[in-house]
């Protein structure tokens, strides 16, 4: 076995894993916040996430069309697409809740889940329809900005591109902001109260419906930010490319303990690392018999094992069965 190679790629794999992990963490927050409040898996969150990426690419493409992409300062452009992507995804998340979930709140548990699956499928083709009519193409490429592709060589085996740094910094900022909102503001207290006990919260004068909408708004905004960062980092997006990251982010949420906000962050980073290491080392360790193509299976196996042996996740509380 080629030990120098195994050791040599370690820092790069670690970095890739952390970037992937932050992405998962941002998406996982949407799942976990909604689950915390409604005990419901928002299956459509993967599409809410990818809509953010599409809003971002549309803005970049129109800036490019107007010739502004090169003239505007690049941090401004980044902030612009991030904010727009967050707004788009948040608006979508709130309307999805109003239309497809709220009428079903009293129904048996599987009913809103099936509706959410329907929303997910519907949105995938809706994005495709809109982009087909608008651009006559639905596989879109993020226009590159030269600054973002510059790479710093940290050591001889480790380099980091500007866009990776952007992803890390933006993700950290988002996570910090969310943490502050949930733990330090009145609204955050209300969200936690509704998650604890809806009836009691409403007796305390909290408008439960508004808080639920707000939860979808915040979760959607985080998803939208993740979508834009996903596009910036990986470049190519299509209406269906949200699905697998969404599923993995859900795995991350479960891994950290669903309903638990710090858990989603930890779970995301752990899963990102696991996946990055599986993708690079599986092939080396098995002599090429099993390669990176098994990384998806890896994530699902983690999910199944966690659910069987530690259903409350790494940081979570015990999940109650709703009567």
């Amino acid at each position: 076995m080629d030990y120098p190679l195994l050791v040599g790629i370690f820092p790069q794999v670690l970095l890739d894993g952390i970037i992937l992990g932050f992405m998962y963490a941002l998406i996982a927050l949407g799942y976990t916040m909604v689950y915390g409040v409604l005990e419901f898996i928002n299956f459509a969150h993967s599409e809410i996430f990818i809509v953010g990426a599409f809003v971002g690419v549309e803005i970049l493409l129109s800036l490019k069309g107007a010739g502004l992409l090169e003239t505007l300062p690049w941090p401004l452009v980044l902030v612009l697409i991030l904010v727009a992507g967050m707004a788009g995804s948040a608006a979508l998340a709130v309307s999805v809740e109003r239309i497809a979930y709220r009428p079903l709140r009293a129904a048996p548990r599987l009913i809103p889940l099936i509706s959410a699956i329907g929303v997910s499928f519907f949105l995938q083709d809706l994005i495709r329809l809109v982009e087909s009519v608008w651009r006559n193409a639905f596989n879109l490429v993020y226009p590159t900005m030269d600054v973002l592709n510059e790479r710093f060589e940290l050591t001889s085996t480790l380099d980091v591109s500007v866009k990776s740094l952007v992803v890390i910094v933006a993700a950290l900022l988002m996570l910090w902001a969310l943490h502050a909102i949930v733990n330090r503001t009145k609204v955050g207290t209300a969200i936690r109260a509704v998650a604890e006990d809806q009836a009691a919260a409403s007796l305390m004068g909290i408008n439960v419906n508004r808080i639920i909408s707000l939860t979808f708004l915040i979760g959607g905004a985080m998803g939208g930010a993740a979508g834009v960062l996903f596009g910036v980092q990986y470049g190519l997006i299509n209406p269906y490319s949200g699905f697998i990251p969404g599923l993995k982010a859900f795995t991350a949420a479960v891994l950290g303990g669903i309903g638990n906000i710090p858990g989603a962050m930890v779970g995301g980073i752990v899963l990102g690392l696991l996946e990055a290491f599986a993708a690079s080392y599986l092939s080396l360790l098995t002599g090429g018999a099993f390669g990176a193509e098994y990384k998806d299976i890896f994530a699902f196996s983690v999910l199944i094992l966690i659910l069987i042996f530690r259903p409350k996740g790494l940081l979570g509380e015990v999940v109650r069965e709703r009567a």
């Binding site: 809103p112 929303v119 390669g291």
Partner: protein
């Protein structure tokens, strides 16, 4: 009386119309509509049975003789009816949401595909394969057993999970099966990866029937068996146990229903139907690859069950028919029609259709159809179009 006359007249008229205009999708839809009317009309059971027998055993093959594609559609409908009935046991009766159902279909399909093609030689060496065509019939049973076994294997670890977690894990399982099928071309070539397996041996055709007719009748027989089995299961001890679990797991357990065994049985039963149809599917298609067994297919089958009504046998049959026809005929027909208009340069309200984007193809939007079905049914009619009475009451609010 009037219903009886009407039903006979409609079936006869629409069959004649299909024979006269064999290319018109609308006329074929009319034929299907007349069958639906026959099912719903207030007519004596013998007349209904006779009309169905005539339509399915005589008229359909004759129509197929004029237009082979319709027979293909009918066969596909049959395959999906069996799948929907299988999923109906898991989701409808036992109340376990299985989002990876198509995995069992894949397992059945690959079972015959590997042994009914030279593929098995790559695994075991030698040149004994493909098996003789006659082996197809015993392999229906093998496919059933392998799929049921897979169902048990999946069920054992995950059935302790409740509701929505179970759904996600079955989804993951379906993806795992697909990824395995996609990548098990090394280190040992078992599935031939994304290239798929071909040629797969077809069974010997009884009575010298042409291939498509033979498959149509084969599927029809299997569907009939599946419906009978479903009927018997529903009223059996185990069927009642499933419904009890669906309504209230705790109460069922208190009444002495062995939870794990009953749930495992539901998984295995549902899976076995899919396994049998998988064997038929692989032989019919001659070629299979992992693309036929995606999450989209699982959700399609789920949409069929939901549309008809969870737990309802006629619901599953009608749901499967409607969704399959929608996919294979209405969406494709719409695509063709749009293309014709486009090529003819028609203008609508001052907008020339030749300017329509080329990527806009109605046939590609089956996800949207499934999505709309699922959302609308859940919001407005969660018990389905043809609900079981007990289920409808359960969902009343």
């Amino acid at each position: 009386m009037i219903h009886g006359v009407l039903a006979v007249a409609m079936v006869a008229l629409s069959a004649w119309a299909v024979a006269t205009f064999p290319r018109s999708v609308l006329v074929f839809l009319l034929f299907q509509g007349s069958l639906l009317f026959t099912y719903l009309a207030r007519i004596p059971a013998w007349l209904r049975g006779a009309l169905f027998a005539v339509a399915l055993l005589v008229l359909m093959p004759v129509i197929g003789y004029y237009n082979g594609y319709y027979l293909e559609v009918a066969t596909q409908v049959g395959i999906f009816v069996a799948l929907a009935l299988g999923l109906n046991i898991v989701v409808g009766l036992a109340g376990l949401l299985d989002l990876g159902y198509v995995a069992f279909f894949a397992v059945g399909a690959y079972t015959w595909a590997i042994f009914g093609s030279p593929q098995a030689n790559l695994i075991f060496g030698g040149g004994a394969f493909p098996l003789a065509p006659g082996w197809f019939y015993p392999f229906l049973l093998v496919g059933l057993l392998v799929a049921a076994g897979t169902g048990l294997l999946l069920g054992l670890p995950v059935l302790r999970l409740h509701g929505d977690y179970l759904a996600i894990v079955t989804l993951g399982f379906g993806e795992v099966i697909r990824v395995l099928a996609n990548n098990l071309d090394k280190p040992i070539n078992i599935t031939n990866g994304p290239k798929g397996i071909t040629p797969i041996v077809r069974p010997p055709m009884p009575f010298g029937l042409p291939t498509s007719e033979a498959f149509y009748f084969l599927v029809l027989v299997i569907v009939a068996v599946v419906i009978v089995v479903n009927r018997r299961l529903e009223d059996s001890h185990i069927g009642r146990a499933w419904e009890a679990i669906r309504e209230d797991q705790l109460a069922a357990q208190a009444m002495g229903v062995p939870l794990v065994r009953a749930k495992l049985l539901a998984f295995a039963c549902g899976a076995s139907f899919a396994g049998v149809m998988g064997v038929v599917f692989s032989a019919k298609q001659v070629f299979i690859n992992p693309e036929s067994f995606t999450f989209l297919e699982s959700i399609g089958v789920l949409a069929m069950v939901i549309l008809g009504g969870m737990g309802s046998i006629p619901g599953a049959v009608i749901g499967a028919t409607v969704v399959t026809v929608l996919n294979l005929q209405v969406l494709k027909g719409l695509s063709l029609w749009l293309n014709e208009l486009k090529n003819a340069g028609v203008t609508v309200l001052g907008y020339s259709l030749t300017d329509l984007p080329t990527q806009l193809e109605p046939a590609k939007y089956e996800r949207m159809i499934f999505g709309v079905i699922l959302i609308l049914m859940m919001i407005f009619r969660p018990q389905g179009i043809f609900p079981v009475r007990r289920r409808a009451r359960e969902l009343e609010r």
